[in-house]
């Protein structure tokens, strides 16, 4: 996949809407940046006029223009950063909202690290690129053009000679550097990588080396590898060091001034002065080239990854917000393949109402996947899940969330108090309700205790307590008894049965524990053994 271009930033339907509200400020920033630069040039022009006509008026005019330039520079800085902040804020919300609506399998395909990078560093890189753009437009296009036009009109085409050092240096940055890094970059990185791993290896093996009397040998080998590093790197770098040194030298004003002197010393004082003052027109942008435009390519690569993420379809939703009674849950001809592996194949089942059902089956039978499908977090490829005779993918997302409570495996908690964790799903519950729910979940803890310091089993029960606070008619729990002892597990099953019967709920648990499954109201066994290694 090639990285998207800068144009995609403006046109890509996934990214552009986040940028659009920031565009007026970005354009204003570009304008301010250009006006700042042009005011600077204007001040220089006043100095040129001063040489032709020694009068304090020109100095005053120059000072006024310099102050104007500083004001516009400040405005440009503010506008660019403010626009950038607006853009990244929008993009961040868009990405977050997209992530929480991704199907479970699409989400689990992203590695943790890549997901973390996407939401943090990729957004940062992209918005840095956006913030830099206004000043770059001024630096690379508007200011050089204005200076060159002025030079041409005053001295004529011969003035173009003053651009020579800048052009030669930019050829180095634009042609030689990319060519060399394409040719030698990998080899240089390898030399660097080798010495770094030599250090690591050496520190890693030092105990073994000394106890087995190999210290001197290991040190000699280590010195060999540092010498190899120096020799090889010197070889690679010396190929370009002269050219790089020359590019830097050419960008010193000495060179340009000498040429400017040569082409204009016979002209009148003002032309002479103008040539000297404006001769550095393209040196500044080329110096920027020397500092690298890497941020553009990294920004584009980040944009590519963000677009790829946003292209993942989200869980389908509809607009139905009313559910009829009874809220029966039914699987109809369900089919699902993940990575070409058939996970669910023509499954049909109606869950018993007002009862606790256990989904059982050997590991890899797709129990967790089925629970994800039932909760609407994983869409089917064919067939449907019917809730009160309505396909759940036609439900409004909030309605679906309120009708189907699912408690995932593992018992994750937020770094906050137990109370705040429970309020996540039941924002209006009273302290008494929360304590009673915890009690039914077989847990006795203070509401204000830090949830993250609880044991794994306790954390899991904080999650289960949500069941007793929820108004959802359907409740799905994945291995809720995994971290409970036999007595507590049995008690919990009884509480769940009680809840199902008394409050007319359909409760479904996934469990691998046959004896616990036996005391539920109904069992639904998934038999087919399939490979789900990639799903968990």
């Amino acid at each position: 996949m090639s990285d998207p271009s800068l144009r995609d930033l403006m046109t890509n339907p996934l990214i552009a809407p986040s940028l659009k509200p920031a565009l007026p400020k970005l354009f204003a920033g570009t304008l301010s940046s250009s006006l700042s630069g042009l005011s600077m040039l204007g001040a220089l022009w006043c100095l040129v006029r001063l040489i032709g006509d020694i009068s304090s008026d020109w100095v005053i005019a120059a000072v006024v223009l310099w102050i104007t330039a500083a004001l516009f520079a400040a405005a440009a800085s503010w506008l660019a950063h403010d626009a950038e902040a607006a853009f990244s804020g929008r993009l961040r919300r868009k990405v977050a909202n997209h992530l929480i609506r991704l199907p479970a399998t699409a989400l689990s395909k992203q590695s943790d690290q890549s997901l973390r990078n996407l939401v943090s560093s990729d957004i940062e890189k992209l918005h840095h690129m956006v913030a830099h753009l206004p000043s770059e437009v001024a630096n690379f296009a508007i200011l050089p053009l204005a200076s060159i036009t002025l030079l041409m009109s005053m001295v004529g085409p011969v003035a173009l000679w003053v651009l020579l050092p800048g052009i030669i240096a930019s050829l180095y940055y634009l042609v030689v550097v990319p060519h060399v890094s394409a040719r030698d970059g990998a080899a240089r990185m390898q030399v660097m990588g080798e010495v770094i791993s030599a250090v690591d290896d050496y520190a890693r093996g030092i105990r073994v080396n000394r106890i087995y009397g190999r210290q001197s040998g290991a040190l000699a080998a280590y010195h060999d590898s540092t010498k190899r590093f120096t020799d090889n790197m010197v070889m690679w770098v010396s190929k370009v060091a002269t050219l790089a040194g020359m590019a830097v030298a050419l960008l010193q004003a000495v060179t340009t001034f000498a040429i400017a002197y040569l082409v204009s010393y016979d002209h009148d004082a003002m032309t002479f002065a103008a040539t000297l003052f404006f001769s550095l027109a393209i040196v500044t942008p080329v110096l920027r080239l020397g500092h690298g435009l890497d941020y553009v390519s990294t920004g584009r690569a980040s944009m590519g990854r963000l677009i790829a993420l946003l292209q993942n379809p989200t869980v389908p939703t509809g607009h139905i917000t009313q559910l009829n009674s009874p809220t029966t849950l039914e699987i109809r001809d369900a089919e699902l393949s993940i990575d070409d592996i058939q996970v669910i194949n023509g499954l049909n089942h109606t869950f018993k109402a007002d009862a606790l059902t256990a989904i059982t089956g050997p590991s890899g039978a797709g129990k967790t996947t089925l629970l994800l499908i039932l909760s609407g977090l994983e869409p089917l490829q064919a067939g449907s899940i019917q809730l009160a005779q309505v396909n759940i993918s036609e439900l409004d997302e909030q309605t679906r969330h309120q009708a189907l409570l699912s408690i995932p495996q593992g018992g994750d908690v937020l770094p906050a108090t137990v109370k705040e964790n429970l309020r996540l799903s039941s924002p209006n519950a009273t302290d008494e309700e929360l304590t009673s729910a915890l009690h039914k979940a077989q847990l006795t803890v203070e509401l204000d205790s830090n949830a993250q310091t609880l044991s794994g089993g306790e954390q899991q029960r904080v999650g289960i307590a949500r069941v007793f606070l929820s108004s959802a008619p359907i409740i799905l729990l994945d291995e809720p008894t995994a971290a409970l002892d036999k007595i507590k597990a049995t008690k919990l099953i009884e509480e769940l049965k009680h809840l199902a019967r008394n409050q007319h709920k359909t409760i479904i648990i996934v469990t691998h524990d046959k004896t616990l499954a036996a005391i539920t109201d109904a069992q639904f066994e998934l038999e087919r053994k399939i490979d789900t290694e990639n799903l968990s």
Binding site: V195, R204, V248
Partner: protein
Amino acid sequence: MKTTTNTVNHKPMFALPAIARRRLMSVGIGWILVAALEALAYTILALGIVDHWSPKWILISAGITILVTTLVNRSGYLTGIRLAGDLFSALGQSLSRTKLSWFTNEHRAQVATIAGQGIPGLMSIPAHQLQHFLHAPCIPLFLIVGIGLIAGPEVALAAAILLALSLMAQFLSQRALGHADRKRHDAEAKTSEATLELVDHIELLRTAAGPVRAITGVEQRWTNQEKALADTNRAAAFAVFVSTLASVLPIAGIASYLIFTEFGSAMTILALLILVGRAAAPLGELATAGLGINDLRASLDNYKKVTNTPELPEPIVAKSVLEDYRISVQLVKHSPALNNIHVDIPAGGRVLVTGPSGSGKSTLLELLMRFDDPEQGQIKIGDIKLDDIPYEELASHIAYVAQDPIVFTGSLAENIRIGNPQATDEEVETIARKATLGSIIDRSPDGIHQSVGQQGTALSGGERQRVALARALIKNAPILVLDEATSALDEATEQEVINTIHSLSATVLFATHRDTSIWKPTQSIYLNS
């Protein structure tokens, strides 16, 4: 706010080895020469403007300056590489003397950071930092002399004052900008932190809070950071205003001065404006470099930390171990956990070192191998104190297997032969089979010559432990130290390995989490802090 790094070390350059300092010195002189030539070239240009010279001298001086700048730059780049080479080399040298107890995971991570980021970062000193710190300040200094030459001391003094003011203002505004950048970075980090919490708990948030409310918590934090960012951006805009004005202050000031004092001809004014403009040009760079010096200092300090590591003294009068392998630990105290350990171990004993985690089992075993000297008390082999034995000799009596077995890139045989470089292939294979490596040897036609992959990655954790065990067995040392050496083995394999160990006559000291009865210890040391 004062940072503590400033007080750690006042001469950060002395963190560098002498040869590196000499290299830097010569490149530094080069940069001063470049500044002098450049200032000379500008002054000749200015003289040419005033007296309407032909371009000859201007072109010649420019040519020389370009040539020397190119050469100094080139040598700067190459010196950077050699500097890195020196630093890598000095790092290895100092690690080779560092006491073994220093090599904790944390310190090893420090070493890896220095090697991967610190030293490569310092490569830019000769070509960039020296230019910033020597070339940039020398240009205005030398040019003030040039200005004096053309316009007399008064104008030179005025220019000097203007340049100093500009530098100060730029330094202050750049510092404010740096501060703003850090705050931006900080806001960004906190924003990311909030976002990462969303990612880390996404399953919980979307099932518990639902699609609409899942991001309300993190959204609140984002909004706070975005407000902080807006304040920072306003402060930064003001700093940009000041910095821009400061950058033109010298040229604006000198133009005003010359006009209002009605000084000289138009051409003199042009010449002076050019000179002052050039003198002011590096000030921005200088101000930024001044701010960057703390980063450089921190890098050098970090380098110093891993090269000034604790060492153990070698004995002045060396003694040898004489066929008497009794080990006596006498009232040994060593932080964090060991307190008054007193134990005698007869030669040939099988000693279990046990206790809860954190009670100092590994520390005691490591003291027996002199990875460190105990803070109090002493350890003897026979009647000879460990610190009276040259380390190489002490090591020759000990074989050691750590919990995290170290396997080097290479073949099985090469790894095992570390224990006894003279061992024949047959001996290596016999020992390897005794260490239950038989199934691994048989699975490849290369037998004991099969590769173990990069740092042993082709082997499982248990297989790596068995390689380390084979290496220890083939050394046939009178003292064998096993620190959780069988933790990754299944019970049957462990039993087989222990049977082999039981057949040895060596003193065996071992720590284990597992069932200790199969080891049939003759003695136990129970540690409990």
